[in-house]
Symmetry: C2
Subunit: 190 residues, 2 copies
DNA sequence: CCGTAATCAGACCATTCGGTCGGTTTAAGG
DNA sequence: CCTTAAACCGACCGAATGGTCTGATTACGG
């Protein structure tokens, strides 16, 4: 049962490297996320890092997909409660909010900003984010509950608000304002 | 009349350096905004840069105040149309939106994100942003037009939406969605 | 006119960066 | 068992980084 196969070992190393990359992004920011910091955070040699990710760009692209994957996992795990018929839009919004905050989202935000001026990151992030959006929509939709499900447009609008909320909270955390903004969003659409 | 005085020369140099810093932030991002790039963009020697801003942190703190100043100038210039009694909330929102997009805001956004993990930048940005918010509120308020003026809370909420809009547009510019989000915000408060 | 302080110039420095490379270990297959 | 390839190691490299330092130039008060 103990998976000590060769390719499994490589897989684990890559996982540790990507996880370390997210940690660095969250704790030190994009500018201070260097290969040396990532390797020491992961507890991995330079050779190992460079073997799996030949350049910084490759590592960052890997991080993009990793963070998307992790966010989707988190959402799906949280969304199981939806299947049990329990109700409304408010719950969906709360679910999405939980994914659009916290360390995972912060790492994604750093990559998002960096992608603006980094072509290879940009080329990886845009389609990844598009796909993530699709998966999120799917995970939040319950067959038959047409009244509570969100349209694509509503989802886009909600994402905008949540992003604004997240980036605002980065420097000015204000739970009261957060709750209020979400309440208003819900209230505005009856 | 020609201001060739000594301290005026220094002031101009500082101005060019700060302007070059904003240019670098917008065109290359925070991570690639180095002292060398700033000095060559500004067309200034290393000695001059380091004379006015002894460290990178000092330069960035200077940039924070510069961008705040420039944003406020832009808003005030645009807000003159308000004084002439011309109406409503929609115009205020449009005004604010014009300040919360474009290169100037982008530079501020880079600094905002960087401030999360840079203490001295954080210490400079938080109070500066608070003050800017205050000044913005003032610039948008017209005495007597109580019905059209925005409350502090409404302003905070609007800023959240506009920030979300801005950061979304960084990677997925969608004028249609932008307009829609703003319309909804206006409509929701009748 | 002179001294002094601000401004500017650019050579220089230690450190860190991303990336290369030769060699070793480990696992898989014939 | 032996070959082969993937995984890993860490010394090494040139380039770029933020920052220091010595002098030159400029402006201005006395």
């Amino acid at each position: 049962m103990s998976e000590h196969t060769g390719q499994e070992r490589g897989r684990r190393t890559r996982e540790r490297l990507l996880e370390a990359t997210l940690t660095c992004l969250v704790e030190h920011g994009f500018a201070a996320t260097t290969m040396q910091r990532v390797q020491s955070t992961a507890g991995v040699s330079r050779g190992a890092l460079v073997h799996h990710y030949a350049s910084m760009d490759e590592l960052l692209v890997g991080a993009v997909h990793h963070v998307a994957k992790r966010q989707l996992e988190a959402l799906r795990r949280a969304a199981t409660s939806l299947e049990e018929g329990s109700t409304g839009r408010a719950q969906r919004v709360r679910l999405l909010h939980s994914v659009m905050s916290g360390p995972l989202f912060l790492a994604g935000l750093e990559l998002w900003m960096a992608a603006r001026t980094n072509p290879s990151l940009h080329d990886a992030l845009v389609p990844a984010e598009r796909e993530l959006g699709r998966q999120i929509a799917e995970a939040l939709t319950v067959e038959g509950a047409d009244r509570a499900n969100l349209t694509h447009l509503e989802l886009d609008e909600l994402l905008i608000t949540l992003r604004g909320l997240a980036i605002t909270s980065v420097l000015r955390p204000d739970p009261r304002l957060e709750r209020l903004a979400i309440e208003r969003w819900l209230g505005a659409r009856g």
